[in-house]
Every structure is written in C-alpha cells, then in structure tokens.
Amino acid sequence: MEDRRPIACLWSDTQALVAVARCWSGEGGTRYLALGCEGSANKLGIGIIAHDALTGTPTVLSNIRHTFVSPPGTGFLPKDTAHHHRSFFVRVAHEALSAADITPSEIDCICYTRGPGMGGPLTSVAIAARTLALLWGKELVGVNHCVGHIEMGRAITGAQDPVVLYVSGGNTQVIAYAEQRYRIFGEALDIAVGNCLDRFARALEISNDPAPGYNIEQLAKKGGGVLVDLPYAVKGMDCSFSGILTRAEELAGQMRAGEKGPDGEVLTPEDLCFSLQETVFAMLVEITERAMAHVGSNQVLIVGGVGCNERLQEMMGAMAAERGGSVYATDERFCIDNGIMIAHAGLLAYETGLRTPLEESTCTQRFRTDEVFVKWRK
C-alpha cells in the first residue's frame, strides 16, 4: 500500500485520489463494496460486488436470486410478485452476505433498481433497500435497470464499445453509446420480445419453471421439420411483436383443435416454438445488424433474459462473423435479472459522486435508458 502512493498521486483521476485518502485515513480498504437489490419483475436478486479502488476491476462476491414462478398458463401478477419479494428479501440478503463473507460495516453503498419495471415489485424492493441503508447507515444509489444490464455485460465479457441488444420480458432495445448516454437506436414498438415468448408459452401451457423462454427453447430444439409462416415486422431499426403473437396463438388454437396448418402441415408444439424463435430472432438480428452498420461497429453484446437463448446467440454470432466482428453474451447468472448488475452499475455511479438522498429514493415504472447521464464513461 505504501508503495502505491507516489504512483497514485500522479493520477489526476479523482477516483484514485479518493482511494489514496481512504488508505491514509485508515477508512476502509483498497476496495469499494456495494450491495445491489433488484426486483423489477419476477426475480428477486441481491448481489455484492467489489471494485478495486485503484484499478476499478470488479469482483463478484455473491449473486443470489430467488424467482417467483407462476403456474403453467398464467403470468406473474404484480401483487403476487411484490408479495414474493417481500417474503424472501431478508432470506436472500442474509445468503448474499454470508456467501460474500463480509459484514455490513464493510459496505460503501446500497444500490437498488429505480426502474423501469412493475410498480409493486419495484416498490417492495426499494423499501427494503431503504431499510438496509437506514439500518446500517449507508448511502443509497438508485440504478436504471437497463444500464445495470449493459454495464454488467460489458464488465463480464470485456466488450469495449459494443452495440447492445437488450432483450427481456419487458424490454427490447438496440442501444449504442455516444456522448455519455446509452442511446436507443431501435426498440419494440409494442410488446417486448420476451413478453411475446412468455405469452406464447401460456397459450401452449408450457411450464414457467425455470422460465417460459427456456422451455420454448428446449421444445424448439426438437422441432424444425416445418417452418410455419409467421408475420415478419421490422420497421427500420424498430420492430413489432404483437401481430406475430396473435398469429402464433391462433395457430396454437388450431393445433389444439386438431386442425392442420395453412399449408396442410401437421402442427406440433415443437415446430411452432421453432418457427416462432426463428422468426422473432431473425428480426432481432436484422435490427441489430442495421444498427451496427449505422454506427460502424462490429461488436455486439446481448443482455437481458432472452439473451441466454443459445439459438439467438448462435444467429447473432453468424451475423457478427460475417461483418468481421464477434458476439459477446453472458450466461443465465448475469443475463437474467440479478442483484449484482445493480450493485455494479450503482457502484460505478457512486464512484463518480452520485448519491440518491433518502427523500428522493423513489422508483418508477418508466425510466428510459437514455435518461441516465453516464458520467463514468468518456
């Protein structure tokens, strides 16, 4: 530590100076710690991350998640989901602390999801985060859920300045960074792609455990004999999924009634899942490719729950390879909503001086990705 001082003092970076001051004063160690609380949809996640105070290198200390799973044929309702989060918060928080092997006194800030998401679940977790902050005497940092996904994806994969495809149950966005904001180049004009998949799973009464999208993916792997014709709706860099869902639900109804498809083909759940995936993923890859061509990038990062679909990753990889680039994706620990991404993005903001005073520690269902001023990037 003594050896580092002269080097660090040469840095103009305030972050390094603050770190050195901390070493001298004996306050804290050479790392920052944040606890992140996520609960914008049906996953309750709490994670603890450490940032090296001098290099900023992040280390995941713990990442615990508990998912509210609704019965087949139904979706998760805000009221039940909020109840789930309230019931499990203390248990998940304890688990996160013991897995990280730290005490609350070592933590620098409590980060929580400010939005976007479902009102009830967001509120439950925001209240729990406030309680922790008051209990332990810590600063609060409100985090944009989408920015959390992007920053975690960048940290895990090492992608420097990729075009980001953010696909989940609530969001479908093609994002690129420019002038301190994550700018949205394309998005779904109606429902999110994950919502389209989830609702189709309900139409087929597929299990929601561990996730409807995962079960569609497994069924699709067994299909592929027939590609059923579905609408294909791309408008520039935007797309639309509601018409496709309507048609897919219609076909599911015909299948249950024992009818054949429009071309006389025998309809099976496997082929319907296959056709739906092929169609909606082709649309996603197409709008991503258009954004990449537009900004002149050849790196693409996929984040969000739908991002762990291996078929989507494979299709994106084929597109990126053709452009001389590569695809970056993470596995379910970081793709699916989690607390660690909130901790990571919150800590990045905390290090630039951002705090959310208790009286402003609200949450909101609508919070656009491009509303966040990204102070921690050049």
């Binding site: 590609l227 935007d238 092929e278 537009h294 299709m315 001389g324 680039g325």
Partner: protein, 258 residues
C-alpha cells in the same frame, strides 16, 4: 477480437464476362446487403447493383421468402416514385429470386456525411450562421413529403439513406457550404411499403427523427425545420405531424414495459 472483413464472392450476375469496363467495386456492406458499383450495358454508364446475399443466420425458407419479396417490392416502389417525379435512382434491371437489383448510380455523398462536415469540430450548437443547413433540412423535409405524397412510406429513413447530388457547375467555394448543397435523393427502399395512412407516415418520420437525434446529437434541434418543410408539402401533411406527436408518446411509453 477484430478480424478484417473477408472478401466476398461476387454475386453471379457480376461474374459474366460481358461488356468490357472497370471491374465491379464493392461500395458498401449495409445491413440490407452489398452495394456494388458497376456498369450497365455500356462501360460509360455507371450503375449501382444492390445484392442481398443469403443471410447465414436466417432459416433458408424464411430467407428466400424475405429476399425475393424485398427485391421485387423495392423495384416496384422505385418505379412508382420515378413516375411520380420523386428524386430516386432509376431501375435498370433485376432478378428477385437471385436477390439483385440494378439501379442508376447517384453521385455525391450521404446527407450524414454532409451534415457532419458542416458541423465539423464546433463544440456548442447555435454558433454562427445556419442558413445552409436549415435549407438542407428543408429540402430533406420536402423530399420525404413528396415521397409520402406518392403513397409510399420508406420504412428506414436515416441520413445515411439520403444522398446529396452535387450541383452541376456549382460556384460555391466554401467547403462547408458546399458540403450541404445539392438535391436530396432518397435511396435504399428495401423496407418501403405502399401506404397512405397518417399512422405509417408518422412512424416513418419518427424513425427518421430518432435516427437523426442519435446520429447528429448536436444538430438535434434543427429537426424542426425538416418537419416544418414536410408540413408544407401536402394538405394531409399537418395531420401526419399531429399523429407524430402521438407516436412519440406511444414510443416512449411502450419502450419501458411490455
């Protein structure tokens, strides 16, 4: 991590040893396909060949269906615009199943490049005179308005999909001014559809507005001049602008929660 883009095999139509002339030149690899500069019928007649190669990521049946439909639709739309007097490239030849379309070669640079040259390294917006760029925004609005007037929506309006055809015999000497002069020629009708509804036209403008704001954040406030010019192009245009307000709100709302 970054490997150079491998050279593409030429589409078959460019491999026939026909008229002598310069070898085909790959101009751009857009998301839509590849654009070659080659010649049509005579070595002195330059043309653009748009080729939609098979997409390896897409299911072959879906791919063939989309490619064929898009080439045929694009040719139809270009032909219609041409007949109605909108500035677009003329169609020379096509083979929809093979995925290619041969068009008139448009000289000049994309509007995106022109605007960027104009903006240059200037830091703050609102400095200095703005006449030439305001006029350009007006010509863009006018071009989109007249396009919509023919019953066509473009589907992918960006400043990369509009060309600035240089003025023949221009006497402008200032490089910045010259960068934003010229006729606006709309290109790349790959996603165009026939529609006269206010909704579709408003979405077309919305796509342009968002692409403009993301590509030229420093010139964002000039977009109003484009809309003003658009509003003057037809009796229906003011209604489209009112619809645009709705689309903006809906876009904002729907982007947050499914």
């Amino acid at each position: 991590m970054t490997t150079p883009i491998p050279p593409f095999p030429l589409p078959r139509v460019l491999t026939y040893p026909t008229a002598p002339g310069p070898p085909p030149l790959l101009i751009a690899q857009g998301a839509e396909g590849r654009l070659y500069k080659t010649t049509h019928l005579h070595p002195s007649r330059p043309c653009a060949l748009k080729y939609r190669p098979p997409k390896p990521y897409r299911h072959p049946i879906l791919d063939a269906r989309l490619t064929k439909a898009r080439i045929a639709a694009e040719a139809k739309v270009l032909d219609r615009c041409r007949r109605e007097g909108v500035s677009v490239p003329a169609v020379y030849a096509l083979d929809a199943a093979a995925g290619w379309l041969m068009m008139e070669w448009i000289e000049g640079v994309p509007v995106r490049a022109g605007i960027n040259t104009w903006l240059g390294e200037r830091g703050e917006e609102g400095e200095g005179e703005e006449g030439p760029i305001v006029e350009l925004m007006g010509r863009m609005g006018d071009a989109v308005g007249r396009l919509h007037g023919t019953g066509i929506v473009h589907g992918d309006l960006t400043t990369s999909n509009m060309m600035l055809r240089p003025v023949v015999g221009s006497t402008t000497t200032d490089a910045r001014r010259r960068a934003v002069e010229g006729e606006v020629v709309v290109i790349d009708f790959g996603l165009a559809t026939q529609s006269s509804s206010d909704e579709d036209r408003a979405v077309d403008l919305y796509v342009l507005e968002r692409a403009f704001a993301s590509t030229h954040p420093r010139a964002e406030r000039l977009f109003g001049h484009l809309l003003a010019a658009y509003g003057r192009t037809s009796k229906k245009a003011p209604g489209v602008l009112r619809k645009l307000e709705e689309v903006r709100l809906r876009g904002r709302k729907k982007s947050m929660l499914g």
